[in-house]
Point group: C2
Chain length 206, copies 2
């Protein structure tokens, strides 16, 4: 039986994949306690009981480990949004409200409460790691999808160029999506989402 | 001839007022070079050639000096906005565009370019000093004034409660008004104001 070749050259087999996951899980634990910025790969190797050289067999750098953690975390937010907005029979307006609400509650939880991933997410956002670029692009696609659907259903206005509408909404959501901005918005996560949602939805009225 | 008594107890006469200004000017210079956070009143006293005790005759704390600098800086932004929007014969839409544009260009200049006041402004915003609260309230009053005028002229919709509209707009402008958010938005100050302005103005359409 022919097996398809594995997509990434750095993953050489199921065992390697397990070890990668093991390193990521241990690093996640370690970073959330000691911070990402201050930890070196040597610290990490010592803490999880692997040699530094062994870790470098699986990851090119500390950032590569951070990236893996970040990608996981941001993928969780995306999955939560996907689930919240994909329910059948919702209006585009309701889908948009769910998008915003889920983005904020999941983001606040992951970055600041449960797992204190803020430290890594902030590095990712400020240094524009691929994980945060992929995340931003994904959020923008959600916005595009909802705006397009709302326009097709006659729920939203169609005069403004679609690109401009999507860019402007994506920008208006940035304070709640980007962890660097979100950290200064934690006092606002109760009321602000509704106010911002309502303003955006008024701007979409036909 | 009876002289009215001076309003603030800490300002005891024109000479004292001059000395206060002199301290503020010197502190401003010193902070912009060495940062507000790291400087102590002793450092400051040494740098400007006054005794620490003498400085404490005029200011209760380092924060009081920082506040004086911050108030001046934020008053400059407010004055610039006032001038930009008070021109006769403008539509409410045009006044709103000018409000946003002036807020951003003056803020970016004062906080980040010319005088590097970001350090102090960030303390003021994150610790909610009176100067930044007064500033926020003033910006909100500008928004209220323009929205109210636009409603009276029939330029803007009147269905949404005035309070909600003003709060939501004030919030949407926060990333460009609050220096803590603005620092992460410097890459966006070219295009974002127009996009955000257009979105807000669409939300105000009757």
């Amino acid at each position: 039986m022919n097996q398809p070749s594995l997509p990434s050259p750095s993953i050489r087999g199921p065992a390697d994949h397990d070890i990668r996951n093991q390193i990521v899980a241990a690093a996640n634990e370690h970073f959330s306690q000691y911070g990402y910025g201050k930890t070196t790969v040597s610290d990490l190797a010592k803490a999880i009981g692997f040699s530094k050289a062994y870790i470098y067999k699986f990851f090119d750098s500390k950032q590569a480990i951070g990236e893996a953690i970040c990608s996981q975390c941001l993928a969780e937010i995306v999955a939560a949004v996907e689930q919240a907005i994909s329910e059948e029979g919702l209006s585009a307006t309701e889908r948009f409200r769910r998008l915003v609400k889920t983005l904020i509650t999941t983001g606040v939880n992951l970055f600041f409460n449960d797992r204190k991933l803020y430290d890594i997410a902030a590095f990712s956002a400020s240094e524009r790691w691929p994980s945060s670029q992929v995340y931003n692009a994904r959020i923008k696609r959600f916005v595009l999808q909802i705006v397009r659907e709302g326009r097709e259903l006659g729920e939203f206005e169609r005069k403004t160029p679609l690109d401009e509408t999507v860019d402007a909404i994506h920008l208006a959501l940035r304070p709640f999506v980007n962890p660097l901005l979100l950290q200064h918005n934690l006092d606002y996560v109760e009321d602000a989402p509704t106010l911002t949602c309502n303003l955006i939805l008024r701007s979409l009225m036909p």
